[in-house]
């Protein structure tokens, strides 16, 4: 598959905008959430909206480092669109009575670490690091979490919202994979050794240290919710398949790293990986809240209210 025309993509993005007020958040259907579903759904939605929000921040960092004006603008839009997803998911939570007053769901400790890392270091990361991690997360969201959610939840408003969200996501994925291929265009783009160099950067190591336990924790939350593990395998297989569909894509060393890592995450039998990581999850659980700095102000931009 040839790489997409990014200028056309940008025009498409601009012409397919939607707003929270396009959806009637008070329409009937909220009662279709069962009592048994409710508490698990609440945790799941909180995780989901935080992933969107964290993804938003990652796009903001990518916009700073984008190699072309078009890509910069695309990422600027994606930053805002991910925020829109988080906002819309909060609006669903509000609809389902999962938010207390105007409260943003409390981020768990692993999230706090990731937020902290994004706030401090993400802007300094080369675009190809986040440029590979983000499509992997997106495909997990798109391919596993969202489909699963829609199968489980009968509320039509939820379906309406996710139809719009998924439309956006298909464009995010299109751009994401296309950029990964651009980056794999070895000689013309950037050398593999140079691309992997940041792996030795302590700032990135910190990032990995905060991100890895987050993934494990979320995987567990999802499985509690009833998501069959196979779904995650399927999503990872999709990432491998699309990311590696061309020579260029496979040549991108970050694709190889992330692909391998994703496999570890979903494979709960890989004890060599999960023993230490689960240890880290436990460890991070011991970090007292007070030890963390105040949440950065970009987090406070979240809102479930369609108008301001």
């Amino acid at each position: 598959m040839a790489s997409i025309d990014l200028d056309k993509m940008l025009a498409k993005i601009k012409s397919t905008q939607w707003a929270l007020s396009d959806i009637d958040w008070d329409a009937p259907g909220a009662e279709l959430i069962t009592e048994e579903q409710w508490p698990k759904l609440k945790d799941f939605m909180a995780d989901l909206m935080w992933i969107e929000h964290v993804g938003a921040r990652a796009f903001a960092a990518m916009a700073k480092k984008a190699p072309t004006d078009t890509l910069r603008e695309i990422y600027t839009y994606f930053h805002a669109e991910e925020q829109r997803h988080a906002n819309a998911e909060m609006a669903l939570m509000k609809r389902w009575g999962m938010l207390e007053g105007d409260e943003i769901p409390e981020p768990n400790i692993n999230l706090r670490l990731v937020i902290e890392w994004l706030d401090r270091y993400s802007d300094e990361m080369p675009v190809y690091v986040l440029g590979t991690v983000v499509p992997m997360l997106e495909i997990a969201l798109d391919g596993a979490l969202c489909t699963f959610l829609l199968e489980t939840v009968k509320d039509p408003v939820c379906h309406q919202a996710f139809e719009k969200i998924n439309d956006d996501e298909s464009r995010h994925l299109g751009v994401g994979f296309s950029v990964m291929e651009m980056q794999g265009r070895g000689k013309t783009f950037i050398g593999a050794t140079k691309m992997l160099a940041p792996l030795l950067d302590p700032r990135l190591m910190l990032g990995i240290a905060s991100y890895v336990p987050l993934l494990n924790k979320m995987r567990d939350n999802i499985i509690t919710m009833g998501l069959p593990e196979e779904r995650l395998y399927a999503a990872m297989a999709k990432f491998e398949k699309i990311g590696g569909r061309t020579e260029d894509g496979r040549r991108n060393p970050w694709f190889q790293v992330i692909r391998q890592h994703a496999k570890f995450v979903v494979d709960r039998n890989n004890r060599a990986y999960h023993m230490p990581v689960d240890g880290m999850v436990k460890l991070t659980g011991l970090i007292p809240r007070r030890a963390l700095p105040a949440v950065p102000s970009w987090v406070k931009e979240l809102t479930y209210q369609p108008t301001a």
Binding site: K14, L20, K64, N87, P296, E301
Partner: protein, 517 residues
């Protein structure tokens, strides 16, 4: 959809009244079959047109007329009366050296005071009788046989002159930007350059779109008046601290009693700004220093890391107009203010929808979105020798000789012509050398009774080759989009050098460069 347009659009849609009465046109044409030409016909009564008039008078040429579409003089400073409007070049430099004003109240005077100065120029140099108000020029054509330019207004009136000066201003036309849904918005709309003085902001929710030179002046004032102010930014600019202070009384007295001291001040300011060229025009070590100064200014005034990030530009300083302000950053942090950097998706009935999915509802939108700048056309048709049309020739970008003459369009002078824009110094400094150059040309036409004084084509071509070569090395051509460039990145706006170099370029009127008849 074309989204938020925070910078001037590259179309040239005029906001001037365009109604034309067919009968008026016919009678005008019938009554005046041959209009008696004045020596010099000037279009526009802003700084440039009035300055031209003064220099002509001082050279002993009294036979000129100024056509002004509005009913008042002042141009930029008549139109830009938004709260906070002021010059961002110190007044002692942003004024004419041949008409110094010892009484500037501040280092950077406000719009009203500058307009006062312009009115003072009109009175002092007795220009009023030369100005024809409400003459909106819609066509300028040259008759080679007679050696006469004829201006036709929207009402069909005709005015003729042996020489013509186009001083209609580079930033005099504006319109609301083409944001999707702009016609759906039911609230109040104001353009910064057409301020609505009757609108009361008290208790209102207000949005400002655009954070360029005008936006950053309006915002600190509106935040004091409005109940709530949302500022929509597309690209942040570099903001330098502004050393603004009131002029002490003794200082005004000194300037009045000892004009040489004011000249000395002007010289000091001039050289300070000249040295800024090193930072602003070319990418030099000083560019980094200037960026550092701006970053420190930001860091000192904004404590929140994310807000600072939102306000940090990602282009080389000088690539776009450098902003100066001490109160812009603090204004954004007032309790009733908020900076919004999400892209604008569209306007709706009640406000502005941004891409994060939220509709920001407001009572009034202020568009500080700049001006309609034409890089590749002319604001009205200009027809030269043998039916040439200037707008057609400029399709790929405007070109002139020394910014002031165009081959094929004899006896025509333009102020603020192609590649005359200052990035670092007062526009009036540049203007003064243009005016004096034009006076020399006019004198030659009158003294030698020429019908045609036309710059040679190859001379103009050579000039532009060097110009574009020099421009390629500047910050403006370093990759950011700005109103200085055409869509294709051609720079027809800025002069790539010091004001001193520009003055030197304009100092001699080289007769050999011209063809005469």
């Amino acid at each position: 959809m074309t989204t938020s347009s925070a910078s001037p659009k590259k179309t040239a849609r005029k906001t001037a009244p365009r109604k034309r009465s067919a009968s008026a046109k016919r009678t005008a044409a019938k009554k005046s079959p041959a209009v008696k030409p004045v020596s010099v016909l000037i279009v526009g009564a802003g700084f440039a047109g009035l300055g031209m008039a003064i220099r002509l008078k001082q050279a002993g040429i009294e036979d000129f007329a100024i056509l002004e579409r509005s009913n008042a003089v002042g141009g930029t400073w008549r139109d830009n009366q938004y709260p906070g409007a002021a010059c961002d070049i110190p007044s002692n430099l942003y004024s004419y050296s041949f008409a110094p004003n010892p009484n500037w109240s501040r280092s950077f005077s406000g719009s009203e005071e500058i307009l006062g100065y312009i009115h003072h120029l009109v009175a002092e140099f007795k220009l009023e009788s030369h100005i024809r108000f409400q003459k909106n020029v819609e066509d300028l054509s040259f008759d080679e046989k007679k050696g006469v330019w004829t201006a036709t207004t929207d009402k069909g009136e005709k005015f003729a002159g042996r020489a013509a000066v186009m001083a209609q201003g580079p930033l005099s036309n504006c319109s609301f930007p083409a944001i999707t849904g702009i016609e759906d918005f039911k609230g109040h709309k104001i353009h910064s350059a057409r301020w609505d003085h009757d609108y009361d902001f008290a208790g209102k929710k207000v949005a400002v779109i655009g954070t360029g030179a005008s936006g950053i002046q309006i915002i600190p004032e509106l935040v004091k008046q409005a109940k709530h102010l949302k500022v929509f930014q597309r690209t942040p600019g570099w903001v330098m601290p502004r050393p603004d202070f009131a002029t002490p009384q003794w200082n005004k007295k000194l300037f009045e009693k000892l004009p040489a001291s004011q000249q000395a001040m002007r010289n000091l300011l001039y050289w300070t700004h000249e040295s800024m060229a090193l930072a602003v025009i070319w990418n030099s070590p000083l560019t980094r220093v200037a960026e550092r100064v701006a970053r420190l200014h930001l860091r000192r005034q904004v404590k929140d890391r994310w807000l600072r990030r939102q306000l940090t530009p990602d282009f080389t300083i000088g690539c776009k107009r450098v902003l100066v302000s001490n109160d812009y950053y603090p204004a954004l942090q007032k309790d009733n203010a908020k900076l919004i950097t999400w892209p604008i998706a569209r306007l709706s009935e009640k406000g502005i929808r941004t891409v994060e999915g939220i509709e920001h509802q407001v009572d009034c939108i202020v568009f500080a979105t700049g001006f309609d700048v034409s890089h590749s056309g002319t604001p009205f048709p200009v027809k030269g020798r043998k039916g040439r049309v200037l707008g057609d020739e400029w399709q790929g970008g405007a070109q002139a000789y020394k910014s002031i003459n165009v081959s094929g369009y004899p006896n025509l002078y333009m102020t603020f012509g192609p590649n005359s824009g200052p990035g670092h110094n007062s526009a009036l400094v540049y203007m003064e050398s243009q005016l004096d150059y034009a006076v020399k040309g006019v004198q030659k036409i009158l003294q030698e009774d020429l019908k045609v004084l036309d710059v040679k084509e190859d001379v103009q071509r050579k000039h532009n080759k060097t110009m574009q070569k020099r421009l390629a090395k500047t910050n403006w051509n370093s990759g950011c989009k700005s109103w200085y460039l055409t869509e294709d990145g051609f720079n027809a706006t800025m002069y790539p050098g010091f004001a001193t170099q520009y003055a030197a370029q304009m100092a001699d009127f080289e007769e050999n460069d011209y063809e005469t008849a």
